[in-house]
Symmetry: C2
Subunit: 148 residues, 2 copies
């Protein structure tokens, strides 16, 4: 599996916050219950996202988590990299350990794989996800459930 639960849960949770963007903070409990994710585990994921500046928090009653920027400015890549680390395929791409880099045919393959992933995740924002979900649901004629 390319992505661990960190990235998968984290993206779902971030998307949840983006749906509530402009309507105040969402408490952790609500998100964890909705997606069936352990509260404490999700808390750790949110802590990382906060540290990276993608979400803010409000403490006390009526508090919770909220996006620190509009959904248009947060990409899937930002979320996944924060939680999963840099998306790499091989040491020799990031570090200078490959002594024969000019002739390494596998290196080219690894670069292509990395590039294809990064092209996807860096060009989809949370706002795009929302739009896409709306479209899917309009087709399915199930808008009620879709935007819940």
């Amino acid at each position: 599996m390319i992505l661990s639960t960190k990235g998968r849960y984290g993206l779902k949770a971030a998307f949840e916050l983006s749906k509530n963007y402009g309507f105040g903070p969402v408490p952790l409990k609500k998100v964890s219950e909705k997606y069936g994710i352990s509260e404490s585990y999700l808390e750790q994921l949110f802590a990382k996202l906060k540290k990276s500046g993608y979400i803010d928090t409000v403490r006390g009653p009526q508090g919770g988590y909220l996006l620190a920027k509009p959904p248009e400015e947060i990409t899937v890549g930002m979320i996944l990299r924060t939680l999963e680390g840099e998306i790499t395929t091989s040491d020799c791409l990031s570090k200078e350990v490959c002594s024969r880099e000019s002739i390494c045919a596998t290196r080219v393959i690894f670069e292509k794989i990395e590039k294809s992933i990064n092209d996807v995740i860096d060009n989809i924002t949370l706002a795009d996800m929302y739009e896409e979900q709306k479209n899917i649901l309009l087709e399915g004629k199930n808008e009620q459930e879709a935007l819940s």
Copy 2:
């Protein structure tokens, strides 16, 4: 890291065999020394590739490993999947555990990531890698080293 040493070593090793395609078997020791990979570890990777039908073996002196098919017929995806397992991003894509599949926005993202990876690895053969390496080296005017 998306790929473990299994996939990375395995692809390098398979490429090595492809360069020798038509010239008889290559002993394990030669490959492991050339790439600095543990002999016993590489042996286990070759065992999997053999089980999948991508390589053959010849025992005894002058024996070794060789591709079971022409390099044109072996894709990077075949090698990587054999060694790393299916390239997936999320449970809900392969199994039927996602109860709300029609409305899951993250599911769409995961599908796109998977597709982009599979598009790359399923459309590059070992023969393509060889061609690419030749081109790189012609540009670098270092053909001698390149095809070694």
